[in-house]
Symmetry: D2
Subunit: 415 residues, 4 copies
């Protein structure tokens, strides 16, 4: 990426993070609703800490904005010292939101100065990584805010809704079709010169048996059918760990769903609204995705299968930029649809290194590699993902019990 | 209390609560650092809910400020319906701090109008109770804010310090003397017409054996001696449950103490400062108080013993109004000293009903009586207690492991 | 107690402990069903450890049966060294039951030899204490075995039943009457030369207001009425901590009760049997006792009130020696009835030192004193208590949530 | 397998299970040292339950030995009804050990009769599966007994040791060599007619990049070097979840290791013995295996890589039949060594279905498939595995934190 474009991207992404906080009060930005989530303010600070610690601190004469931030806003980089305990991030009422904005301004000024004065190739790489890192945190920030607001009986509205969703229960959706792929040796993973995370590399050969993927996402209507058929009370549909979770947590619908009178409602960033049958199912765990697939006589795709199909499709969809921040009913006709945007698609693949994987050197080696156990790969981005952030080789990962991301389901089957 | 005085007290106490929040940001007022603590904003709202629910809602034509507050700000009154889960109070970023102030204004206006229009005797009783209730929450608010700020590595200062405490390690304190009381039948408990809580009644006869109480509080210096003598590592000094807590929590000093280099520092509402030997020991649990007493060859007083002695002493001391919000070194000479203010004094008495105890009727019966198990009585008020709130018959109560109140130690022994 | 009698008591109590294990298999004697309970084998070994460690080990030339037992069978004496972790006692499959019997034989032989050769007064005191200690463990052993067997869906029978209880639902019980006592200064506590625990001393004066105690125990029939009237679903009847326990544990009847078809059954040492309305209620926590009393418009007695009444009554009742090991329906006519035996009676008194309390010296100081927090006093002994073990001054103590002892309810009220 | 051979195998495996309990007392066989482990008696009963429930109960006129066993000894088959709670299996002191042996005799007689009278092909398949199922439980029984005995400070000896291991610290071990394999498309999985579990099927094509596997297992000596180099205190070597476990559990050596004076000892089925440098490292979690590999500049093999190499090697090694029940120092010279027996080898592969995987039908579908999340594949069998039970396609699986199996490490690297 040339310097001009990089500078533009930096300014734009940094500005976008702050724009996401505009509908929020300082209190909204400070609270933490569960250990997995972080306060919005913390996201704003941590993404700045990333640039400061990994670029600015190495430069002669740079004085940190506040030396205590080094610990406060370190997420999980053991090689960069201590970390303030993650479950307590919501207790950091100081620095204030305004102080964090001042911190952001300070870091922005120094980064932009550095860009003008010349950064070496390594620093430029880190800068580009930092931009993508910040885009990841934008999505986390939105998911975390949604979770926080959902805990409040006042059902606060983050974003006014434009589509009249509350009144409609959703149009009919075409029957699921299948996109078939032949068996053979294929290549997956990233090989180009553009930006990609270390975990997407190297591009490598894989053998796949013939398979087929659903031509669209699973819908809320289909989940309602699953529920009506006893999906959440039939242990035989579930992985053992999944069923244990169903029982211990009392799951009986996707996260944020609430029964009111005869029907189901769901909490969205636009407040409570009726569950629409035609929208893609969302906020399900891997366990629910797997159980639904079992019920439907299908299975989840491997990440290899997903990528083979997705590599033939343009990276277009319902992303953060649409301003909807909610999955959209199927609109396109040509199969396969909805591969990008709307919801992250759970795959059947555990998050693991590709053959020949090499983590980044230094502290950045902690970015991705150390999480390669017990998590599952998700693909395709969601309605909260920035369009410029996603690729068909992109590997997201969460624990199989996680539900607070915009995560959904695409079916697969052997051909 | 006459109506004019009651009105004056209402205005004054309501204003004082808000004044306590002036040094705080909206974020400070929203966060909750542990399930036992509540956000400052919640205290402001709950004390208003008390007046609204128990007085205003019974009046014709009153319209609640917001009906959802009935659940949000109900603390523990099962007879008044559901309660928002206590451990999640810090997630209530809405209503905002300003909205809560507006709620307070609304309640204040209606209460003052009601006072002008005439409240019946029952309502006036509840109003007076509500004023004392709010004073209790003022002290809780300060204790909760102290705990919250203590979690922040920035060591935020709530209150500028005026006494140069950081530099001084404290003057010498006179040796402990003893105030002796003969055995006999005495009376304790409240009998007058002024305000007192139900748990202070009825006044009743008790028999005591001859005893003596320390003529001052135990000091930090004495706690340091206890620590130096292995107090926190000698199980024989501790109650069994207390020792289990020492081990499981790793206690090795009072709460908020931190070892820096050679010396001990402590977090105060004025930030970190050196532990002064001449200040009363504070932020100790009942278990620590009991272990210290055992080490000192003494015991803790019963609440009967304490009240017999305290009833002969004027209710004067270092209270909230001093603006210090920290225990003060011994200044008075005449024994017994420091019975009121500075720190709540742990007694050896479990919190239980007095003979003939009758809880208030209706929902207010839940105010005190239902907590009469597993807690210990503390007496005398602290540096965070309003002077107009305390009496020699006043019974405070906390669990024996609690340390975040300004709680300290007075010794007793058999005469 | 003279030496002959002491020797007789020693032999008799030691034999009784082993006899209690006769209906049990080695596996029954090894398992531990919860951290509060201990395996029967552990009780057999620990009571021997007590004699060995506190008497034999001080004697010249004594060689311990096995030095590792010093840690394995130390219950909670920190002054006597490490303890094997209490929750893991059920993992001690070695030493075997037979080895523990051999250990008992070894200790018995040496104690009896010592008795012949002459023990000094201190040792004789410890020996007498050890005999009472073993009787305490006999009752614990029975309670622990009952809890263990109750976990087994096979409902094992420890003891064949002789009274045809399964078929009867119980005769009618006379209405509750009241025994009234005047107010005044009385004396409670133990003062004689016979054996008593340190916590029963010293005898001291107390002032009581006029009161009345129920002339019999609360029955299962009354508990069934309480249940039918929503007792377990009405928070207003409960202490706050008690209600929290009801909710978190799902309590809806006394421990061991189970609904089968239309009726209630209960697990006993003779297996499952119908709940008889005329039997004293049993296996209730302090919280349940307190809630029942509130529902009945009464309260629980203080230990002072209980002892004043009980001191006028002979120590007779349904004890371990009856071989029933279950509370018996009311038989006697003269009030007050059932003060001794049947069930331990929860009092409203927290377990605390009497004025002037002095714990035993040395390690035995850990016997009683260190448990004087957060527990409640129970009085009168139960159907599992040895008759020779109980006195009217005897103070038993358990946590308010404990239910696995034979604990029941006597009502009190202000006169 | 022909009927004669099947009958012989059935008799032999059933007898072997009971023989494993011979060194144990009934108490040893009843206790449960953690929720993951089961009592030996439970293993004996459950393996009988398997034959009874899945074969005998379907036969006309069969009367269950005891109908309550259907729940008591159901492990996790939701399709076969309720299960007694797993963490409480140690409370089942009844049925006694002898009753369980009688149960086994009853089942054996009926199975052998059925074999004589003719079982259909499906039943014969289930019978063969049941034999392998019992062999799996033999290894679990040994691992669970080892864990139980390890909790006992008496360090009970299950098996007298024959090799003088206590005195030797171990001979030198040859440097690690590498076995290299070219890249290409290979086949893995089971395809024959003999017995294999459903999870080993179908045989399918995979593409591998060129790789190399260590020619022997990692040794205790190498783990000691890792420890001496700060392996357990260097977060950068660990997966994130692994490091969290190191911190929360205080891991600083493999399970069962204990520092005594200057050296390390380890608990074995033959009691405590010195750690021998030349023995294969054992009782490590996946996290430790992964961290060791990172420290050694290598990685763990995928299960594909492991199977490709192992398929060229005879299935020979130190198995249960050697009677050693402990990994043995390297003896063979020809590479690669120790692929079978000694220790299960952690692979980098999450346990997942092979392409085209079909679980068994009916209740047996719960045998393997529902565990395909969050666990890692281990390969090769251990010193506690029966020789007739293992294959090169065999896939074992445990959670990455599990350490109580005989699990060890083989290194891999890219070629």
């Amino acid at each position: 990426m040339d310097l001009v474009e990089l500078t533009r991207r930096f300014r734009s992404v940094r500005g976008a993070s702050e724009a996401l906080c505009e509908p929020l009060s300082p209190e909204d930005c400070c609270a933490q609703s569960m250990p997995d989530a972080s306060p919005a303010k913390w996201h704003l600070a941590h993404t700045s800490w990333f640039f400061e610690t990994l670029i600015l601190e190495k430069r002669n004469g740079y004085r940190p904005f506040d030396p205590t931030y080094r610990v406060l806003f370190n997420s999980y980089y053991n090689s960069l010292g201590e970390q303030y305990p993650r479950p307590h991030r919501g207790l950091l009422t100081r620095p204030s939101f305004d102080e964090v904005l001042a911190y952001r301004g300070h870091v922005d000024r120094h980064i932009l100065e550095s860009l003008e004065n010349g950064l070496d190739a390594d620093d430029l790489s880190v800068l580009e990584l930092g931009i993508h890192h910040e885009q990841q945190h934008q999505e986390l920030l939105l998911a975390d805010i949604k979770h926080l607001l959902s805990q409040n009986p006042l059902h606060p509205v983050y974003l006014a809704e434009s589509d009249g969703g509350e009144r409609a229960s959703g149009a009919a959706v075409a029957d699921l079709g299948w996109c078939e792929i032949e068996s053979g040796v294929e290549r997956i993973g990233f090989a180009g010169k553009d930006f990609a995370f270390d975990n997407e590399r190297p591009r490598h050969r894989v053998h796949v048996e013939a398979f087929a993927l659903g031509n669209r996402l699973v819908t809320n209507g289909e989940i309602l059918d699953f529920m009506a058929d006893g999906g959440y009370t039939t242990p035989g549909l579930w992985l053992s760990d999944g069923w244990a979770r169903v029982v211990s947590k009392g799951w009986r619908a996707p996260l944020y769903w609430e029964q009111r009178g005869g029907g189901w409602w769901t909490f969205t960033l636009s407040g409570m609204r009726r569950v629409r049958r035609d929208e893609p199912a969302c906020h399900v765990s891997y366990y629910e995705a797997n159980a639904y697939a079992a019920w439907a006589g299908a299975r989840l795709p491997t990440e290899t299968e997903w990528e083979i199909l997705a590599s033939a499709v343009p990276v277009e969809g319902n992303f953060q930029e649409s301003g909807r921040l909610h999955p959209a009913p199927l609109s396109s006709t040509g199969p396969p649809a909805q591969l990008f945007g709307d919801v992250w698609e759970w795959t059947a693949s555990a998050y693991a290194p590709y053959p020949g994987f090499r983590p980044l050197t230094g502290s950045l080696g902690e970015y991705n590699g150390k999480f390669m156990s017990s998590q599952m790969v998700l693909r395709g981005g969601s309605c909260a993902t920035a369009a410029s952030h996603i690729r068909c080789t992109y590997r997201n990962f969460f624990y199989p019990e996680d539900r607070w991301q915009w995560s959904g389901i695409r079916l697969a089957r052997d051909a």
